[in-house]
Symmetry: C2
Subunit: 325 residues, 2 copies
């Protein structure tokens, strides 16, 4: 690979001059500028970003740790994060923790070793203290870690409220909630909170099932939901904590010959792209994924530039009523 020296030699100038045209600093005549460009062209020269990063002590990299990019919600989130990062010259290193503590820790170390400019954490299996030691520009999704670390979330409580209220208002008598893992102290737990409070408040019978830590074991989802619906055949409303879980519910209702929304109503959470393509199209609570992603990138950049930033970034949700309710 050609270096700046090769370019200088070919253009008949010094590396200082080449660097000057490369970085638009100091005086440069059009003639030399052209010579230099031509030499770069001829050699197919690409400045070595690694060397640049080393020197300016900035990698223009953002680390993204999520459970897995193959989960539709995180896939969409990652897509938008990369989009907005790219707009301002940042690159994204992607890390799938699979909600494995060891992996998550490893990834944090790895990202620090690689001197990423900031870390966006969408996976949280570790204790608060472990994150506090990270001592790095961080943005968190759905988890409050400390007074300094900014976080992003949707209005989880509001979302839970919208979903639960809808089921009750539509006349459900016994409603179920399928929550994420409640041990991970996520703000998403507020969805469950809202569910519990509202169902109690309205005197509606309710059950909650909690998913295991390993969210990606398909068969487990299935048996869990199946058990739930078979044990409580009178459930006529389900609030699932994600659209993917809602898909499982729809599927199992279909297999159990429960008609949606006549026999049972279903509300999801996230509003992933495919939600509107389910049959029937899924009623769900929309998180503004794109705006949240944009915000995450901005929060990293602001920290890098030492600009002031908001610590709490809670985004409004929206009820997308479709045909499962």
């Amino acid at each position: 690979m050609p270096t700046i020296k090769d370019v200088a030699r070919l253009a008949g100038v010094t590396v200082t001059t080449v660097s000057r045209v490369l970085n638009n600093r100091g005086y440069i005549s059009d003639a030399t500028r052209q010579k230099v460009y031509q030499a770069m062209e001829e050699l197919n020269y690409q400045p070595n970003e690694i060397a640049r990063s080393l020197h300016r002590r900035q990698s223009k990299l953002i680390g993204l740790i999520i459970p897995t990019v193959s989960h539709p919600f995180f896939g969409e989130l990652a897509g938008f994060i990369e989009y907005y990062a790219h707009l301002i010259g940042y690159k994204v290193l992607i890390c799938n923790s699979l909600l494995d503590r060891k992996k998550e820790k490893e990834y944090i170390e790895m990202l620090k070793s690689n001197r990423v400019d900031g870390i966006i954490m969408g996976s949280h299996t570790l204790e608060v203290e472990e994150y506090m030691n990270v001592n790095y520009p961080i943005v968190t999704f759905d988890r409050r870690i400390s007074e300094e670390i900014p976080y992003i979330s949707s209005d989880n409580y509001g979302g839970g409220k919208l979903a639960t209220n809808l089921l009750i208002q539509k006349g459900c008598k016994k409603i179920a909630h399928i929550s994420g893992n409640l041990q991970l102290q996520l703000l998403a737990n507020q969805r469950s909170q809202a569910f519990i409070e509202l169902s109690k408040e309205h005197g509606v019978e309710s059950v909650i099932v909690e998913t295991e830590l390993n969210v990606f074991d398909i068969t487990q989802y299935e048996t869990m939901i199946r058990n739930l619906l078979e044990k409580h055949p009178d459930i006529d409303g389900v609030f699932a904590s994600s659209d993917v879980m809602a898909a499982y519910v729809i599927q199992i209702c279909y297999l159990l010959n429960k008609r949606i929304p006549e026999h049972i109503k279903i509300v999801g959470y996230d509003d992933i792209k495919l939600a509107s393509l389910f049959v029937p199209p899924l009623t769900t609570i929309r998180q503004p994924i794109e705006e949240m992603a944009k915000c995450a990138v901005e929060l990293i950049v602001k920290q890098v530039n030492e600009e002031p930033f908001e610590r709490e970034n809670v985004f409004p949700v929206q009820l997308m009523e479709r045909l499962t309710t």
Copy 2:
């Protein structure tokens, strides 16, 4: 951030010694090793991977260019690629081209500038020559570029054949195929080829509609499929070139009150995780995504290490018969 010098100073040794324990080279007594580890611990030292990369002229980075990670197929692919890359100490830079020629070109340049060790291309909007100039370890998904560049694909022709045959064998009289964009010279076009040949061979009436380049405009998909089914109400079988497209078909059939599989049968392609959760569960052609991802990573590594590798990596597909046929 502490450097190797700080560690050396604190441990009371030279940087050479620290480097020796860091890289396990030469003679080191247990005592010094411990001192050094302790100093690293105390300073919370992380070797600067950027400096290391610069020196060894290897970034341990793989660039991944795909249309978008938010598409379920590519999300799953990306997830596995990152998984296998991580296993052998590689990191993944994701790039969503959105099938935009300019972006794709930019990303290739960017990845080269960042001296990634190899590029996995799952997005192909450029001409063959443009890739030939890349002159870099590359692996390609679903596209044959030159004699040197290895590619990975599923047995597209076989898959198209399985899908079409199934529809015909199930008694469909008029079948439709929704293809990807045929201008991009992808191997996926062989799915359409198979469809055309088999329907002709069996004397079954057939229509093909082709999606536009911008695969991510939702409304466009919808109107296209709607038009197809309204213009040809006698279509009783559809082979969609991806599961996501199949989801649209199912959805529209649902809206048009066409019963699946009684009135119309549907076959998808990919077997994304959600496919089995569709209602009805989608019959589809399974690509072995995980194996393909693993292969992609291996092909990069082999090129980096200058080991011999296969140029053609065509993976068998499998008919997953579920309830839409």
